[in-house]
Symmetry: C2
Subunit: 437 residues, 2 copies
């Protein structure tokens, strides 16, 4: 491979995996093309705070081109990947075809609805920024509509928020939502009877946050209940409609807002590209993160099915970061004619915030809860954010929240499809409150 032309590396996805892979290749003599459908990187661990009107979208996203300015041999291509041809070694986007010598696939994951009828159509999800903004708009709209809804049943539909899935995202969002509706929204809507507001968190297993030490699970459960969140454990959802949630035992919860945080899986699109998809829609990889039949292709992040002590590694940011770094290093090994190294996951621990002064964390074998865990959570998330400005913005918002019991970003912001004004008609729904169901 030591020819005159530097090898071309294509990286799909500017999430944690793709970005850290780019950084790992930055100062080597390789031409890197990073492709993403957005021109920004999203700090997804704080996405739920956008949905809870706590952070503005701008605080958790960062322009990819700003990150790449320091990397002279790295190009960015904004586009939607439509096909990957593993044999011809090229990636097709809407409008471009890019050939590669090495490929790093880091497309992340999509929401997994487990085949529950109606869920993919009617449930809100929290996987990308637009979903976060749409959910915030919807929640605030529900309150605006409830203010002027004379019918009690309709009002309760508007004021019931059901979160499906008691993992970290479900727990964090439930806590943030409880603080939003019990605090700032209670002040915003003084004429509303806030006893009509109902927050429900549903989990199929025996406890929330399964996998964490029992003491922490119990702490999280008690804390959420004290914040006014109804817990429904061992509860299986059988159907989602536009105005209700049906449980396996036949119970019906009338609600206009179902938030689905019950699971994620690999993007089903990769099956079409002939990648070997295993359980959970993830792609099996060698311990070096390479594809079995294509050693020039690496899979990192949520899409990669790699194991640690026989257990699949979790689909979280630290894994993606470490895998991105390993994949970049392995490409450099291959270019130099060396053997690729195996991926070894260094578990940084796990932390989940529940609300003001309340979090649970397992770090370095120590488990903790309450204020100390909350301070650790805050510090780690602030430190991991990209960019001084974003850190400042987030810190400012958190301080505001904390000191004033306030949420500054309670905005139902206009959303309009892309493109030319001539496409205006495509914005089918105006920003007014919708009265239809």
């Amino acid at each position: 491979m030591q020819t005159g032309i530097p090898p071309r590396v294509v990286i799909l996805g500017a999430g944690f995996g793709g970005l850290w892979a780019s950084r790992g290749l930055a100062h080597a003599r390789v031409g890197v093309t990073l492709i993403d459908r957005n021109n920004y990187h999203t700090f997804s661990p704080l996405l739920y705070q956008v949905a809870a009107a706590e952070l503005e979208p701008e605080a958790i996203v960062y322009p990819v081109r700003s990150i790449l300015r320091g990397l002279p041999d790295t190009q960015f291509l904004m586009g939607e990947v439509t096909h990957v041809d593993l044999d011809a070694r090229r990636v097709e986007t809407n409008g471009q075809v890019v050939a590669y010598d090495f490929l790093i696939l880091a497309p992340g994951s999509v929401t997994h609805f487990f085949g529950v009828p109606g869920a993919s159509e009617h449930a809100f999800v929290l996987k990308d920024l637009e979903q976060g903004i749409a959910l915030r708009n919807h929640i605030l709209c529900c309150f605006e509509r409830a203010m002027h809804e004379p019918d009690l049943a309709r009002r309760q539909n508007l004021l019931t928020f059901a979160i499906v899935g008691g993992g970290p995202t479900g727990v964090e969002f439930a806590g943030a939502l409880a603080e939003l509706v019990r605090g700032p929204l209670a002040k915003d809507y003084p004429r509303l009877d806030h006893r009509e507001v109902r927050l429900a968190l549903l989990e199929a297993r025996e406890s929330l946050l399964s996998g964490l030490p029992e003491r922490l699970c119990t702490y999280a459960q008690n804390r959420l209940q004290r914040m006014g969140v109804e817990l429904h454990l061992r509860t299986i959802v059988s159907e989602v409609t536009r105005s209700s949630l049906r449980l396996k035992d036949g119970t019906r919860i009338p609600t206009d807002t179902v938030i689905w945080t019950a699971g994620v899986c690999g993007d089903p699109m990769v099956q079409l590209w002939g990648l070997p998809v295993s359980g959970g829609g993830r792609v099996s990889v060698l311990p070096t993160l390479q594809l079995v039949d294509h050693p020039e292709v690496f899979i990192v992040g949520d899409l990669a099915h790699s194991e640690r002590d026989g257990v699949p590694v979790p689909m979280i940011a630290p894994v993606a970061i470490q895998q991105g770094t390993t994949a970049a290093r392995n490409i450099l090994h291959l270019i130099r004619g060396e053997d690729p190294e195996q991926f070894h996951y260094r578990d940084p621990g796990m932390m989940v915030t529940i609300g003001r002064n309340a979090a649970v964390a397992v770090v370095g074998g120590f488990s903790m809860s309450g204020f100390a865990a909350w301070v650790v959570w805050l510090s780690v998330h602030l430190a991991k954010l990209i960019g001084f400005r974003n850190r400042l913005l987030v810190l400012m918002n958190w301080a505001w929240d904390y000191l004033l019991y306030e949420r500054a970003v309670r905005l139902i912001l206009p959303l309009r499809p892309f493109g030319h004004p001539g496409d205006r008609k495509m914005a089918t729904q105006g920003p007014g409150v919708q009265s239809e169901r």
Copy 2:
């Protein structure tokens, strides 16, 4: 009117006029309903900075309910006004009917295209927040697409930005856009030949900023030209298409981006309500801001056609603020059985910023340009923003810009129509780069 039930005042529009009217009525014994299609107030004088990737939308908007928290007898209704029945004294929104004893109409203005074919379909405008965001997204998308466009003519279409109208908005946006493309975007797209980027400002009259002292107009023109903005004075646009601008003299400017800042007029919807519309789509009012045949109806802000020394007052925020205050005071006069007072406009002056260290201003009869005017402009705009947090955000962004020659908000943010996930299909265009024309 001194009965037991407090009079009901309905205010349409939470812009400057409507908001200051609400404040004026806050501590009187009247029930106020403020109606707006958005749940926020927009500080429109800085809208152009959202379009120029300088400020995040959250920095210039403020939740209406936050403003109203201190006003116990004031209700907010988020909705789109569909009809005003002057005889029955009621306002209809999508879903609600609200009766009034007094009405304050403060709907603002809409863009005036002067009947130029294609302008309303194909030109970008800068009247509300969604338009500002859509324009920012479009400009950044043009650069993303130009990066990978091999055809020179197509690339020039993408990289030509034509601003129609050399009034304050056109001048301020031209300056902000010039600083964006010559600074941060030149760093973001180092492989692009930036000599292909063309910024044109077109004005039908002899000079920019007509109405200001000639010295200031000349200063603004020289400054913009030094910043790389082509000036086309005495230039009349005859047609806008999706990919070009045609002038009256037959010249064709190929461009995918026409920004129309040539004028505003009253919302044509008010004609349907039977209001007496005069030139410019504005509604003629008595010197007391009342409608001739409906003394219980007040018109304030851009919609009101009121005169000062025989000249119509300009359609700017200070007028709206003063008129809102006067209308509120006049309603209180009428309730107390007193005569309403006449509106007298106190002209606070006029200021237009062109770019870094460069502005023109006429304040208290003094005209100034350059750094001093720029400092005055910054201070006045910061001071007039609502909310400490927004001031802090704006100040932070401006400092960032000023010190680092940077624009932090270079994000092509996802935009998706409102509503339920079931409506997802309505988002007809994804956030990928579009390759069609």
